[in-house]
Symmetry: C2
Subunit: 517 residues, 2 copies
C-alpha cells in the first residue's frame, strides 16, 4: 500500500503549529514568527498563489537569501499542491533564465535585493505570470489573501526542483519528492538524536538541498530556526549567543573563517551542541582548533548531493577523534545512512572489492525521482536502480567511504589514473601555496598531463621547479604537475563551494587557443 | 523512484554486524550471540531454508517463546527472501492449523516445548515440507548449512504475516512489508531518541508486532537485546539488573505485577531509562506508583494494532505528569506518530469534528499491505486509502486521541450509544469488584441492554442492586447494567491482553439457549 502512503511535507508544518503553536518557528533579524503564524502565513500565501493560477504540480520559483519569506514561499508552494524551485541567487541572470525556462514556473517570489534580476526574468521567461516582491507587497498580499486548506500533495509528488550547481555540463533540475525528504529526515533522526528544543541556525543558503533538508527536519521536530541572510562569522557567533542555537550546518570553509575570527572568545557559544558540515572532509588542523574552541560540541559530517536529498553517508561525532579505536576515519566521508545502500562500481557497474577505487553509486528512498525534462539523462544516471554519483571513491573494510575525485575531474595520464585530490593535497602542503586545484590538460604524448592552478600566499611566487621538487617526496612521478599557473583571484567555486574545475579547464583552453590573452 | 527503493530489513542486521560485530546482539539465558554470530547464524539458517525449498515469497512459520532462535528464524526467513510468520503459541492446535492452512508455510521452526503441537500441524497442514525443532537439531542444521547471501527482498515485499488476535471473527493474516517496518522505525526514532547502547529487554511475546517492531528498531540501532521466554516479575527485574537494560516494552497488566513484587527494592534498576507500554492506557494509581519506583525512567505509551506496524499514536514522557500545562492527557492514547495521519470518521467515512466520537482511521506508510488471501476484507478495511481500525474514539482540540470502545463492542440501547469502557470504569470502581467487562445482550424492547461480567474480589459477592446504585452516581441511566454475572475465572484475554468480548457474548448466548448449563 505504501507508494502513495507517505504524507506531504506540509503535514510537518501543520503538526508543529498544532503542537508548538506559540513557540518561535522562524527568527529573522527582529522578526519572530510563531508556528501558528508560520502556518497561517503559508496558508495565506498558498491562497494567493492559487489565486494566481498555481495548480497541483505547478512550479513556484523563489530567488532570495535566507529570510523567513523564503521559507514561507517554499512551504506555500507545497501547501498549494505545487513544486517549489529555490533558485541560486549567486547565478547570473542568463543562467537563472535558462533554469526558469527549463522548469517554467508560474510565479516567482523574489527578494527586493534581486528586483532587477527579476525584471530580466520577467522579460525572458514566458511562463511567469506573476512576480511577488518579498517586501511590503508580500505582506499586503498575505493580509488580503484568504488562507486555503493544504491541497494534499503526497509522498510521490515532486516537492522541489533544485538545479545542481553542476561542476560540469548543463544544469539539471533535480526532482525531489515529499517522500524523498521524509526518508532523509529518518536518516538524520537515526544518526543525530535531536528534539524540539534544538534551535537551528540557517546560514548555509536555503537554495541548497542540505539546508532545505535541515529546514524540513527542524519542521518535523518543531524546533526554532534562526535565519542569517549571508555568511559573516561575527553574525554567526552573535546569533548563536543571542538565540541559544543548538545546531548549525556549515561548510569547512566557513568553519575556518569562524575559527579565525579575532573576537571569537567574546561570544558565548555554550548552547551549541552540534556542528554539521558537508561538501568536503575537515582537515586535522582545523578539527583540532574546533575541538579546542567548541569543547562541548559534537561534529557531524554528511556526504551526498542534491540527487540524494542529500545525504548518502555520515561521519558521526564518535569518529571525530585522534586516538582510540575510532581514530583514523577523519579523511573519510563516513558510513552509509540508515536507508542508503552505498557501493563502488567500475564502468561496467560491477561492484568493486574493498579498497578499490570506482564510481560511488547509491540506492534507497532518498534517491531523486529524476531530472526535470531530461528522461534520458535520468535513465542513465539511475541505471540498474542505482544513482550514479559521478564521484570516485573506495570503501574500507569497515564500510567507511573515502572520496578520491569527481569522475569527470580524474586525469588519465599515460594510461595511469591520477586522482586530483591527492595531487592537490601534495601541492597545497607547499608553504608558498594558499590554495590550489589540479586539472588535466591535453598532451599529444600522454593523452593528458597534470596542470596545477595555484593561488600563492601573499608575497610568494612559487615556481614549477619548487612545486615539483616538493611533490616528488609525496606522490608518484606521473602525478607531479607538468605545468602551473598562478592566480591572485580565488578559485572559482560552485554554489556548493566545490572548485569549478570545468571553469578552470575552459580558462586554460581559452588561453591555449589565444595565447595573447 | 521510491516504491521499490526501500531496502530489506536484513540490511539492518548486516549493518549491525559490520559496525558492532563483537558486541552482544542477543542474550538468552547463558547464551550470548554477537552481531557477527547473529548474522552468520541467520545466513546459515537461510541456507538451510533454501535447501528445504524456501524461495522468494515463501512462508516460514515460527512457533516459539522468546528465544534467540526465534529471532534468528524470523530474520532467516527474510534473508532467504521469504515471509516470516510468527505464530501465537498460546493458541490451541486447531487454531494454529487453521492459520497455517491459510498462509501455507513450507517450513515450521518450533521450540521443543511445542513439539506435540508441531506433530498435529504436520498431520493437518499439507504445505509443511519440513519442521525444524529448535534444539540440538537446529544447531546441527546451522553447522552443516552453508551461509547464503541475502536474497534481496526489498521494501515492497511482504516481510511478516501476523495473525491478529482478533477479538471478533475469523483470524486474519496481516501482511506487513519491509517498508512498513522501516516507517515504524522512523516513527519510533522521531519520538524516542535512542542509540546503540540502549540495551533492550524482550519480555512481551515476539509473536506480537509491537515486540517485533522493537526487535527491528534494536537491530537498526545495533543495541543488545535480552530475551525472556516468559513473563515473571522477578526475572524481569533480575534481567534489568544483570544486563543493565535501558528500555523495556510491557503492558500495564505486567507493570502492575512488577510494581507489586514484594522484593522489588532488592533489585538495582538504575540502568532503566524508558518503559514503553501499550494495549491500554495506564491508570493514575499505577502511574504514581511507577514514578515512585522508577524515578529516573521515562514512560511512553503507544497505541496501534498489527495492521499499523503497529504504532498510530504516541504519548510521550512529557505527558506522563499530574501537574502543569502537559497534565490531563494520561487517559489519552497520545498524538499521531510522525508519519501517521489519524482521523475520526462516521459510518459514511465523513471526518468528525473535535470531541465527536467515531471510528478511528489511519493513513500512512505503516499501513499494512493487506490481509493474506482476503482481498475483499482488505479493500473494505482500507477503503478510501485509510485503515479502518474498528476502534471508537475522539480527538481533542490538541490532537490527543481518546479511545472509547471497540466498534463491535459498542452497545446500542434504545437508540443510545453506550461505550463499554465508560460503564466498565464505573462498575470497576465498586469496592467489591476486582475486574469486569461489559457486553450488550439482545433485548426485545431496547434492541440491546447492558450486561456486566464481574470478577469479584475474594470473599465478595456484589449483587445487581448494589452495582446499579453505585453506577447511578457515575453514569447515565441507560448505561447502567440491567443484568450481571459473577465469575471466578479471570476474564478471557486475547493475545494482545485485550478482553475477548466475543467470547463473553458467546458464553452468554450459550447459557441463554440452554439455561440448564
Amino acid at each position: 500500500m505504501y507508494p502513495d502512503s507517505y504524507p506531504g511535507l506540509t503535514l510537518a508544518l501543520a503538526r508543529a503549529a498544532d503542537r508548538r503553536g506559540e513557540a518561535p518557528a522562524l527568527i529573522d533579524g527582529e522578526t519572530v514568527i510563531t508556528w501558528h503564524a508560520y502556518r497561517d502565513r503559508v496558508a495565506r500565501l498558498a491562497g494567493a498563489l492559487a489565486g494566481m493560477g498555481v495548480q497541483a504540480g505547478d512550479r513556484v520559483a523563489v530567488l532570495s537569501p535566507n529570510t523567513h519569506r523564503l521559507l514561507e514561499s517554499l512551504f506555500a508552494a507545497l501547501w498549494a499542491g505545487g513544486v517549489a524551485v529555490p533558485l541560486n541567487h549567486r547565478l547570473a541572470a542568463p543562467e537563472l533564465a535558462a533554469q526558469a525556462n527549463d522548469c517554467t514556473p508560474v510565479v516567482l517570489v523574489v527578494d527586493p535585493a534581486f528586483r532587477s534580476v527579476a525584471e530580466t526574468l520577467r522579460a525572458r521567461v514566458p511562463s511567469l505570470r506573476h512576480i511577488i516582491v518579498a517586501d511590503d507587497n508580500y505582506e499586503r498580499l498575505l493580509t488580503d489573501a484568504a488562507p486555503i486548506p493544504d491541497q494534499g500533495a503526497r509522498g510521490d509528488d515532486t516537492a522541489f526542483i533544485i538545479y545542481t550547481g553542476g561542476t560540469t555540463g548543463r544544469a539539471k533540475g533535480v526532482m525531489l519528492t515529499h517522500a524523498n525528504l521524509w526518508a532523509n529526515t529518518a536518516n538524520a533522526l537515526a544518526a543525530v538524536p535531536l528534539d524540539g528544543d534544538s534551535t537551528h541556525l540557517h546560514v548555509a543558503p536555503l537554495f541548497h538541498v542540505a539546508a532545505i533538508a535541515r529546514a524540513v527536519s527542524a519542521t518535523v521536530l518543531g524546533t526554532t530556526q534562526v535565519l542569517l541572510a549571508k555568511f559573516d562569522p561575527a553574525a554567526v557567533l552573535a546569533a548563536i549567543q543571542q538565540h541559544r542555537v543548538v545546531i548549525v550546518l556549515l561548510v569547512p570553509t566557513m568553519l575556518r573563517v569562524v575559527a579565525d575570527l579575532p573576537g571569537f572568545h567574546d561570544y558565548d557559544t555554550a548552547s551549541l551542541r552540534m556542528i554539521a558540515y558537508g561538501a568536503s572532509p575537515i582537515d586535522e588542523t582545523l578539527l583540532r582548533r574546533l575541538i579546542k574552541l567548541f569543547p562541548h560540541v559534537a561534529l557531524f559530517q554528511a556526504y551526498g548531493m542534491t540527487e540524494l536529498s542529500p545525504t548518502a553517508t555520515q561521519l558521526g561525532p564518535e569518529h571525530h577523534v585522534f586516538d582510540g579505536p575510532n581514530a583514523g576515519r577523519l579523511r573519510s566521508a563516513g558510513r552509509a545512512a540508515m536507508l542508503a545502500e552505498v557501493r563502488v562500481v567500475d564502468d561496467a557497474d560491477v561492484e568493486q572489492p574493498t579498497g578499490a577505487v570506482g564510481e560511488i553509486v547509491v540506492r534507497g528512498p532518498t534517491v531523486m525521482k529524476g531530472y526535470w525534462n531530461q528522461p534520458e539523462v535520468t535513465a542513465h544516471t539511475l541505471r540498474g536502480g542505482w544513482m550514479h554519483t559521478g564521484d570516485l571513491g573506495y570503501l574500507d573494510a569497515d564500510g567507511f567511504l573515502f572520496l578520491v575525485d569527481r569522475k569527470n575531474d580524474m586525469i588519465i595520464s599515460g594510461g595511469e589514473n591520477v586522482h586530483t585530490t591527492e595531487v592537490e593535497n601534495a601541492v597545497a602542503s607547499h608553504p608558498a601555496v594558499a590554495d590550489c586545484a589540479v586539472i588535466g590538460i591535453p598532451d599529444p604524448r600522454w593523452g593528458q598531463v597534470v596542470h596545477a592552478v595555484i593561488v600563492p600566499r601573499p608575497g610568494e611566487t612559487p615556481d614549477l621547479a619548487a612545486i615539483q621538487a616538493h611533490c616528488r617526496a609525496l606522490i608518484a612521478g606521473y602525478k607531479i604537475p607538468r605545468s602551473l599557473e598562478l592566480r591572485t583571484a580565488p578559485l572559482p567555486l560552485s554554489g556548493a563551494n566545490k572548485v569549478l574545475k570545468s571553469k578552470l579547464r575552459e580558462e586554460w583552453a581559452a588561453r591555449a587557443v589565444s595565447p595573447s590573452r
